[in-house]
Symmetry: C2
Amino acid sequence: MKANRRGEVVDAAERILEREGSGAVTMRRLAEELRIQAPSLYKHIAGKTEIEAALQQRALERLGAVLAGASGDLATLAAAYRRWALEHPRLYELSARHSLDRRGLAPGVEAAAAEPLLKVTGGNIAAARAIWGLAHGLVDLELANRFPPDADLDAAWAHAIRAFAIYCTPQPESDPAQARAL
Amino acid sequence: MKANRRGEVVDAAERILEREGSGAVTMRRLAEELRIQAPSLYKHIAGKTEIEAALQQRALERLGAVLAGASGDLATLAAAYRRWALEHPRLYELSARHSLDRRGLAPGVEAAAAEPLLKVTGGNIAAARAIWGLAHGLVDLELANRFPPDADLDAAWAHAIRAFAIYCTPQPESDPAQARAL
DNA sequence: ACCTGAACACCGTTCAAGT
DNA sequence: ACCTGAACACCGTTCAAGT
């Protein structure tokens, strides 16, 4: 029933990442988790970089699916983005802070993640990028604990959403879900 | 003329960071730069974490000074933020992605960096946080190469600025520069 | 096809000792 | 006050070899 050994390596890496933090994702620690010697990993995956790229890809797929399920308006979409990131903080950071390796990324994954954002802006790609930047920035600063402990972040998100909601009033399906990346 | 040895260590770390990237900032590489053995560093600084905290503090001071000099409107402020980050990408990343060690941070530094943002929103702290998130997010994604190579980021910034400019029209000095952090 | 053991060139950090 | 040498417990990765 096991797909392939490579998949199991990435699964184990994800488990360690979420349970013990990014510092614990080590080829040797990973080998221990799989009850194997570290050099054996290299028969299944090229190296640590490839493991990180695989995890980044997973994160993109899952976040994309969550956003696609968060229907309609900007507030709902933004709340879904924030919730997913806070629920998977290490995976989110891993996926957002590294440059995306577009070779070997299943085609359409990037565009699928972008689609809900494009939809909410009525196909305006500059607006979609601005909203992505806004959501990523607020999440990233929150995950990095950069706000004072008593900061009212719900208020900051509400303000941000109102600013963009006024600006990009949802045109009624002006652009029929063009598949493209942000 | 040399201030103290600790300052020289942090200077060397900054040189290596900007010239060779964050992976090169190593206690051993740092010792080599100072023509010293690695264990000697520990007589001047507690460890690598303290070096990173010192660099983060420097970045905050310098970015704060630049923002304070970028007068008045949101567009100018945003452009200054982006320009500084792109000119010091490694230092910016280091400063933005780690949680801020508020013990041992010179008092007022955090508030000083926040002040220009609070000013542009007329003292609205939720709006200031939203704008910080926006600027950080767009910069962070750009530094991580997450936009497609042909993306028009100037357009995304322009859109973002317009959204917030409409929302938070600059009240004429409603709040006289309250010193507080974001 | 899958795994091992030994090895290489690295890390951060500690500690006893030297001037 | 400032520095060194040896050491410890780690890294990622390669390679010849074994089943």
